[in-house]
Symmetry: C2
Subunit: 348 residues, 2 copies
Amino acid sequence: MKVLRSNKNPIIKPEDVAPSGPDLKVIGVFNCGAVKFNGEILLLMRVAEAPECDRTDIVKVPMLDIETNSIVIKEFKKTDKNIDICDPRVIKADQKNYLTSISHFRIARSKNGIDFKIDKKPAMFPENIFERFGIEDPRITEIDGVYYIGYSAVSDITGITVCLASTCDFVSFKRHGIIFLPDNKDFALFPEKIGGKYYAFNRPSSSDFGIKDMWISQSDDLLSWGNHKIMMTGGEGFWDDGRIGCGAVPFKIKEGWLEIYHGASKDDKYCLGAALLDINDPSKIISRSYNPIMEPEKPYEKIGFVNNVVFTCGAFCEDGIVKIYYGAADKYIAYAEIGLIEILGSLK
Amino acid sequence: MKVLRSNKNPIIKPEDVAPSGPDLKVIGVFNCGAVKFNGEILLLMRVAEAPECDRTDIVKVPMLDIETNSIVIKEFKKTDKNIDICDPRVIKADQKNYLTSISHFRIARSKNGIDFKIDKKPAMFPENIFERFGIEDPRITEIDGVYYIGYSAVSDITGITVCLASTCDFVSFKRHGIIFLPDNKDFALFPEKIGGKYYAFNRPSSSDFGIKDMWISQSDDLLSWGNHKIMMTGGEGFWDDGRIGCGAVPFKIKEGWLEIYHGASKDDKYCLGAALLDINDPSKIISRSYNPIMEPEKPYEKIGFVNNVVFTCGAFCEDGIVKIYYGAADKYIAYAEIGLIEILGSLK
């Protein structure tokens, strides 16, 4: 597959983003929703922040304190035998999991889609019980002038849920609460009703059966969801045999709906694939990637906060070119283009 | 708490139930929905069956084969180092989990509520991809002459989901598919609309955060669910600090809605508690059990397929008496009565 990466990649780096508070440092700016808004490309970016820490014997975890509506820091001694710090993202302590960073959403804007101006302040910041450990991986879908934002809310009290927000101006955001129960993530809303129903991808988890597959659900009002169908599973021994979930918001082409999704292998290499879905019933797959359309190759994709990750939450198709904004190694935002004909030709 | 157990307990035992097929034996008849129907008490019972096996060196697991719509048996050698048979309910092999038994639903009827006549054939039997490993823990709610049955469907492909079925006659049953995504169980539908909405308890799981709490959700049509609220969590160091979920279908009393729920301690002792909920907004808890209202005490509750379990899916309140049908040790059905005033007096 011929992937044309921007020669300015990574186009946005952690040092480009101002921290949201004095005790925090930005350690990652990566998975971002992408829309055209007011003649510009607007990215709603996941910004991950960790507490400043000048001591090597302790590890600090940030979380939202609901009562004061502020970030509080919890400290663990690295020598404590009851804690597990193997995974850079998670501290396991006393049978509980904590995240080493907390994410919020920040806006970046660009005329040319490559050079971005980044807001100094967060657009959406964790603010309720569902968001105690952060908000992650926003995907934006415009329907009739309203921009719906589906995202993962992470909390030690309510697990990983899918929440919905909306905005008309990207200045004020209205939260609509939980729409998918824990654990669920990777929600992407289709940009129009199909057969009178809203459709969305989502990715529930079954811990008892170790399943992380891509489902599609229906709704009349965007708030209550039903008619759930399991849609795509990874192939044993294939590039996506670890887990699979949606990526970009799907877009319509004359052949059907095209979805750029993510799959991870059992050794946690995250790649992108594509699936062509029936125009009238997007739960029906016409064809999908046998091999990834894009995989981690460049240094900024192979080495970061989590190595070997390309992951998209937003892509467009213009003039036969699929334009992909993607998170690289859970640290950077990068940009790539792939010919639509080439993607379609690769599907089986 | 004064609990009056039937002196005929356990009122239904595995040997009372005819196997559904020649190669299966009934190893448990336990969690049952309970309704009054045609002047009788009708139980819809979970019947667990395991493959007949006269060899001691192998273990057999049953599952539904979708293509032939029949039960097939998979065998494992006990000496195989790649399998884990510590838990009598589960075989872990090659990173997959299998259940050692497969459950279906069977009807029992009684004039006096104690002496039951048991159908020879299943009422509902696993029949689709969501039910490959069985159907479990039915709860029955009557609304306007339709009996809705919410149950757990277990599958290696789709995890543990909540499915809905309905019947008007307990002869033919219509399936309505998945209503809660994996992993979710312990669904109980309220017997009337409240403020124009259907309400139901359900129990999602968060594997990443080890959370198994009781939620309440709303619906307009019983098929799409939203406005999810976390409702009750177990108390650290209390009898329900392992996990918590609904039990019986809630019933209305003059003080509000009364729910008999289950909680398990971290060492897996399953007890029953009670919660009084606001009559107009059942997501609001007025009071709940500080101590269990019932716990495993009798031999049939303490020793069975899973020891130390009392678990209810169906209870009535009549003449100030709460009448509870319950699964004992995941093996038997038993019956107990508790005075309503006594339950209410124990709530904090």
